[in-house]
Subunit: 405 residues, 2 copies
């Protein structure tokens, strides 16, 4: 094990707050002295998540703890999901059914396994304890917090000010999250910046069971590919960990220059001096983005796929067709006697478009071209001569070589 | 059954608010038309109550409903007691254990039986339903209210303003009370003025189960014998329903003139014109108080006891000994050869004082006298000649005739 100071330096990377930090260092020291790994909690509500890079920020920190020899404890909040985490939200979440939650939980764990080592982690579902609770247990938990504490939460205060409702059950959320820490005897809990309130609730609850209060470690919110708002599926500004190397790489290249430093810090292990060098004045941001894109793709698809995605992107940027062009088959009897087919029908037959009407729109928009000279066909009534080996392109990324059968 | 308008007139007596009143009249009309008695709910938390006249205000209203042919439904809040009703309180109630609550509930029902006809009433304990609830049931209930609604309660708003804590579990109270109405399908709920918020919560919950929302009927808070603050045990300004006729009557006579009208309205069935006559200018408030005192004592001890208590009070006021003087026995060998006994020892022997030291204080205070001429003994060292039949008096009310044995 590394000494405490060295661990702290590694773990501090990209972190927003460690509360209280002095206690954290002592906990690390004792963990080494007593050869007792820290129990590091990360909770997630299975609300049907396509894990994207924003989610990987705390998960990568959890992995860092694992790599330093500590114990990752993942809480699947199947009960908290039925409440809905109000943190940082400006409205009430819709509630999920138990069935949705169970299906989401299985799916979520599969995705999380791409980032942390699930073999070495403990995984708990908080329904395992809350499911056994009765009315009086809930009451006892509710006794631990006042309306004043709750209303002071930034997100709730804002909703109250804006006259948007905060429902009573939402107030239970931070207490449930806090109780999870008691159940698993957490030393550290990870979460996003806006979770600080919830992470600190456990510190009030753990002493009731003779436990030391956990340390809260918050991570910044990753900005999306638009460079302004937080990364999120609904905003369409996300990079999913399950996306293809090409999609991931292309999206990274589309990110504005500003959030580059944050991306490097939170999404890669590249040493900070190297990052600074890459982002120094006078350098081409394109080069930095390529390094970043390759690093991210490599994490989810391997080094080789990352290199291929980078090369393909470079060719496309230069206006070249990709090295490997997918082949599509077209039945010769779709052609007329002259060997022609209507342009919209062609796009539909080779699977570029779902219907001839959407194909017509693409054509009229100038997005369709054919052959080595990229002849653009804009008339939806045009007939296209198709020979074996013809290359057709649609939109920015669709390309295929036609094989007549 | 009386017609709806006549019932309304009787039931309106002393009431603070009926919300909504138009709906109440319609409900009465339908009850008559369909020959279906109204289900009138009154909930009480068994928190160890010595029932006093303040409590009888809603209970007497409940009895009125019974007398008009409606169904009294008493909820023993054994579960709500474990939360503690925050209504009108400026601080959090201390929680009770299940055992305390069960013992209190038995004791409470005995007392309530003096006012309502328990044989004809339905009695439920809300632990019967809440005791079966799990975490998710509590959550579902909590979804029905917002922080905004809760914080707007007068009592909570005041505590928040004064920076006194309102605990989260207290917010559950009105929802539980509301749910009780759903469980028993209440048409009307009775409560004190400060309960209006809680009484109206049920109106939001009942439609979820296809029930018509109940009507809230609030009763004013009875002022105590000091004429200023609400009647309460801890304030020492109460008249208990279990107290003796003499105590009850004497306490009524000690009430200031001002709250007389309220007492007549809320604690007797005396027709209002008669009340107005009794309290008209120029009359002696003493006479009104005597009518009131007799009426109250008669309710709990019968007409005869009421007359006796009034007569005894009159004699005492006139400085006369009561008609019936209790006899105490004193062993002759407690006397010295001259037939004397030390004054403090005498007070202790006949049970007027628990110790000779407290007896000494009474004597020094001038509160002890003996014989037909009421000779005051103020020297605690004095020896009292005791003959068979000697009458001794101590303080305002203690009197006994000594029989030597």
């Amino acid at each position: 094990m590394l000494d405490a100071q060295a661990q702290l330096e590694i773990l501090r990377r990209g972190v927003d707050q460690i509360v209280p930090e002095a206690e954290f260092l002592k906990r690390l020291e004792r963990s080494i002295r007593e050869n007792r790994p820290l129990r590091v909690k990360y909770g997630i509500d299975p609300t049907g998540i396509d894990v994207h890079l924003g989610h990987t920020v705390p998960l990568r920190k959890l992995r860092q703890f694992q790599d330093l020899g500590h114990k990752a404890v993942v809480i699947i909040g199947n009960y908290t999901a039925m409440v809905g985490d109000p943190s940082g939200r400006d409205e009430t979440r819709s509630a999920l059914t138990a069935e949705q939650v169970a299906a989401n939980a299985r799916d979520y764990l599969k995705q999380v396994g791409r980032i942390i080592d699930l073999e070495k982690a403990e995984v708990h579902h908080n329904g395992d304890w809350f499911g056994k609770w009765g009315f009086l247990d809930v009451l006892d938990l509710m006794r631990r917090m006042t309306l004043g504490q709750i209303s002071a939460r930034e997100d709730f205060a804002k909703r109250i000010k804006d006259e948007k409702p905060v429902y009573l059950h939402e107030c239970l959320y931070p207490l449930m999250q806090g109780w999870d820490s008691v159940e698993i005897d957490a030393d550290v809990e990870l979460g996003g910046t806006e979770q600080l309130f919830s992470l600190l609730v456990a510190r009030q609850l753990q002493p009731l069971r003779g436990q030391e209060p956990q340390i809260a470690m918050t991570m910044p919110i990753l900005v999306g590919t638009d460079g302004t708002r937080r990364m999120g599926k609904s905003l369409g500004n996300y990079i999913g960990v399950a996306e293809s190397p090409e999609e991931q790489f292309g999206k990274v290249m589309s990110v504005p220059d500003e959030p580059m430093a944050q991306y490097f810090t939170l999404l890669t292990d590249l040493p900070q001096p190297e990052v600074r060098e890459l982002l120094a004045e006078g350098t081409n941001p394109r080069d930095a983005k390529e390094v970043l894109g390759k690093s991210i793709v490599a994490q989810y698809h391997g080094r080789e796929a990352a290199d291929r995605a980078a090369a393909a992107f470079r060719r496309r940027s230069a206006g070249e067709d990709p090295l490997e062009i997918p082949v599509v088959h077209l039945s010769a009897d779709k052609l007329d006697a002259e060997g022609r087919i209507a342009a919209p029908a062609l796009l539909k037959e080779i699977g570029f478009e779902a219907s001839t009407s959407s194909a017509r729109r693409v054509i009229e928009g100038g997005g369709f071209n054919v052959g080595p000279r990229r002849e653009v066909v804009t008339d939806p009534k045009a007939l296209v001569y198709v020979k074996d080996g013809l290359i057709v392109r649609s939109g920015k990324r669709k390309i295929a070589e036609i094989r007549l059968v």
